[in-house]
């Protein structure tokens, strides 16, 4: 044994305190060395009724359908027709165009705040297309794709973002904290992880009521550190209700890299193993893979086979929110180095390879969604913006706190002059 061995022994005899750091900072070599990629098509597709114990390896693999050439390969391919994939591409393009327009609106002062989902559109859009009417999402603030892929009106979304007189949330909520029971979209809270265990409770109620509805819980990599994530896992593990537990690992929680929440766990999916929950790790930038695994997990839930934890590996291309500047904590070159590519480009190339899409049809689709967003924005702006005279009325402050106004609130509303 040389000196290194002696040093190692000395180190091991000393208590340690570890603060995980990303593999590189500004000016250093960028590489996603610990991403543990698996080639497309390589990971097996077990039957949905497979028990969690026998698929433990899927928590460490990476399920992918689209290969480097954009060809769909392997056992998870084939859950969608080409027409459905074209519709999926349009969903993602619409989300992207919507985000771009709302970022501009925020800069123009039409609202206070916005959160985009650039680079991770496939996760929400494809998952939504695997759900049925009556299923319910418990989203975070970055799942606007769920609403858009369920054909929720863009104008209503913008009315909410602008907090104007037609805001469906009556001006009560921060922009992007939508709610639509009808579209399977639970009211977004804005604090973290609370919705994760609520989704489990919703699924418990669905099962107790004898329905075949399935809940989808959503959480980001950073928020899995919250106690409510663990509460959700315990309750899902205990009661085995029909819920899909989605962890969107987009690598960054504001400035905090995913390793800080993941800690010693190999992957976020691996967290499910100790709970006896079927756990899979999936390429979240692969629309086909997202749809296939979502469908598998939802089917499991609907058949009474219990919860599934899915880690969607993706990348937050943009800032956390309009209040954030990521260049301060991650090198700008990281975006280009991200190995799982762009979900829109990958699906586009696949469809072109299938002979059902072309550069021209793509450009045309981009123009169409841009026009749709432009029209919706104009219409919403006509209903007012946050700082205009047509912002949501102060009279609405006291509405919908309780079912009926209590006497003390009635007195306060009178004091306000309404």
């Amino acid at each position: 044994m040389g000196d290194a061995g002696v040093d190692a022994a000395a180190e091991l005899s000393t208590p340690r305190f570890v603060v995980p750091e990303p593999g590189y900072r500004h000016g250093e070599r960028i590489g996603f060395d610990d991403l543990a990629l698996t080639a497309a098509g390589e990971v097996r597709r077990p039957d949905p009724d497979t028990d969690a114990e026998s698929i433990r390896d899927l928590a460490f693999a990476l399920i992918r359908v689209l290969d480097e050439d954009g060809t769909a390969v392997g056992p998870w391919a084939g859950t969608l027709s080409d027409d459905e994939l074209v519709a999926g591409l349009r969903d993602m393009l619409l989300v992207r165009a919507f985000d771009a327009r709302m970022l501009r609106s925020q800069r123009q002062g039409k609202t206070s705040f916005y959160i985009q989902s650039l680079g991770e559109e496939a996760v929400a859009c494809a998952h939504r297309r695997a759900q049925r009417a009556g299923d319910m999402n418990f989203p975070t603030y970055r799942q606007q794709g769920l609403l858009i892929a369920s054909d929720y009106p863009l104008v209503a979304m913008i009315n909410q973002i602008y907090s104007n007189r037609d805001d469906p949330m009556k001006g009560h909520q921060l922009p992007v904290m939508y709610s639509s029971r009808q579209h399977g979209f639970f009211t977004v809270s804005g604090n973290l992880a609370t919705q994760f265990v609520q989704a489990v409770g919703w699924a418990m109620a669905a099962a107790i009521s004898g329905s075949d509805h399935v809940a989808s819980a959503w959480i980001g990599d950073g928020a899995t550190a919250e106690s409510d994530y663990h509460a959700g896992m315990v309750f899902a593990s205990t009661y085995r209700p029909p819920v899909v537990l989605n962890v969107v690992n987009n690598q960054w929680a504001i400035s905090t890299f995913q390793g800080l929440a993941r800690g010693g766990a190999g992957t976020f999916a691996a967290r499910g193993l100790g709970f006896g929950i079927a756990s899979l790790r999936v390429d979240g930038n692969d629309y086909l893979a997202v749809h296939a695994v979502s469908q598998w997990a939802i089917e499991r839930a609907r058949q009474g086979l219990g919860p599934t934890l899915i880690e969607w590996v993706t990348y937050r291309v943009g800032a956390h929110s309009t209040s954030d500047d990521p260049s301060a904590y991650r090198p700008n070159e990281e975006v280009a180095a991200w190995p799982l590519g762009d979900p829109v480009a990958r699906l586009r190339d696949h469809l072109i390879g299938q002979g059902v899409w072309s550069k021209e049809s793509h450009d045309e689709a981009v123009s169409e969604v841009d026009a749709a967003v432009r029209d919706a924005e104009s219409e919403a702006e006509a209903h007012g913006t946050l700082r205009s005279d047509d912002a949501a009325s102060p009279a609405l402050i006291f509405e919908d706190l309780f079912e009926n106004l209590t006497p003390h609130l009635h007195r306060q509303r009178q004091q306000l002059g309404y």
Binding site: M177, Q198, I208, S227
Partner: protein, 342 residues
């Protein structure tokens, strides 16, 4: 002896009965919490419900208060009416975010798209040598939260009627059950024999369904000289202090803190011209401060003396010194004499 249409019940039995009545009438009412299923709860408030209604209607929960309330919110969002038990009010803090940021705001933040018809029961208060983690009275932590209703029954009749009303309410309601009153009225004289509910008129509980509207106070003891505003365990302490001092105090059992029966408060203080506010919780920023503020705002010109507060000391609830902490009849008597001499 039960008379026609009534039964002599303890507060525990009345709470059990309220659950059963609500569950019988509405199959969306589900009951769960730590130890509440097979065992029927550490205080036995849910005893027999699992056997009667099945494991899908009454079941045990893992020891995770945030999970219990969070799951209940999800169930309520689905369309059920969960009624959950937090084993002791002292244990509710892990659930506080779910109660404050979620249950209380679901309707508001979604502008009515979702709401949380949810009841959260928890035993409150001291008097059983529970020390600092089985004795707290955290009602002010709920009354301060917009969107929550908070009720505190003091007897079996109210416990049943308020719990049924809470379960049937379409907003989240916190029900704080004074554990020292579970088995009998308690006047604060801890060294005297325990009086059972079977010897008290408020232990005669109507059978079947009835609801006591949230926001209606009850005159526990009519009087002319001074108003005592109180709720929960200290209702009977106030009554004892009135009898022992010979001061004709009107004891108002508020029953519901939010919404509050301000009319009853103002009517009584206007009549008597004097007021003592009494609760077991710590004094500073307690609900008593809210009551004093409302009394001075609405009845200042009727007052002939400063409004006094009697409360738990601003310390954690001690173990050995429990009866020096508890605001018993002697401390209330001193306050009554003080306001009468002003």
């Amino acid at each position: 002896m039960a008379t026609n249409g009534t039964a002599n019940l303890t507060m525990i039995e009345a709470i059990r009965d309220a659950h059963a009545v609500a569950m019988e009438r509405d199959e969306t009412v589900v009951v769960f919490g730590q130890d509440v299923g097979f065992f029927g709860g550490v205080f036995r408030c849910t005893q027999g419900l699992q056997e009667r209604f099945g494991k899908h209607r009454c079941f045990d929960a893992p020891i995770n208060e945030s999970g219990i309330v969070g799951a209940a919110i999800g169930m309520a969002a689905y369309g059920m009416r969960p009624c959950v038990e937090i084993q002791f009010a002292d244990y509710m803090y892990p659930a506080y975010d779910q109660i404050v940021s979620e249950a209380a705001r679901l309707r508001y933040r979604s502008a009515g798209d979702f709401h949380a018809p949810l009841t959260i029961r928890m035993p409150t208060g001291g008097g059983i040598f529970g020390g600092q983690t089985h004795s707290q009275s955290p009602e002010a932590l709920f009354t301060h939260v917009a969107g929550l209703k908070t009720v505190v029954p003091s007897n079996p009749v109210d416990a049943k009627g308020l719990l049924i009303a809470a379960i049937e309410d379409n907003d989240p309601v916190v029900v704080l059950e004074p554990k020292r009153l579970y088995n009998g009225p308690f006047d604060g004289h801890h060294d005297r024999p325990i009086v059972p509910w079977s010897k008290h008129p408020l232990g005669v509980v109507p059978e079947g369904h009835y609801a006591i509207p949230l926001g209606q106070a009850r005159v526990h003891r009519p009087g002319d000289e001074v108003t005592v505003l109180t709720y929960g365990t200290t209702v009977f302490v106030a009554e004892a202090a009135a009898e022992e001092t010979g001061i004709d105090a009107e004891v108002i059992d508020l029953r519901s803190l939010v919404p509050l029966d301000l009319e009853a408060v103002v009517a009584s203080v206007t009549k008597t011209g004097r007021c003592v506010v009494l609760h077991e919780a710590t004094m500073t920023s307690g609900f008593g401060a809210e009551l004093v503020a409302l009394v001075q705002e609405h009845a200042l010109y009727s007052l002939e003396a400063p409004v006094l507060r009697v409360a738990g000391w601003d310390t954690p609830y001690p173990h050995a010194q429990e009866w020096h902490y508890f605001p018993g009849p002697q401390r209330v008597a001193e306050a009554l004499k003080s306001v009468m001499s002003s």
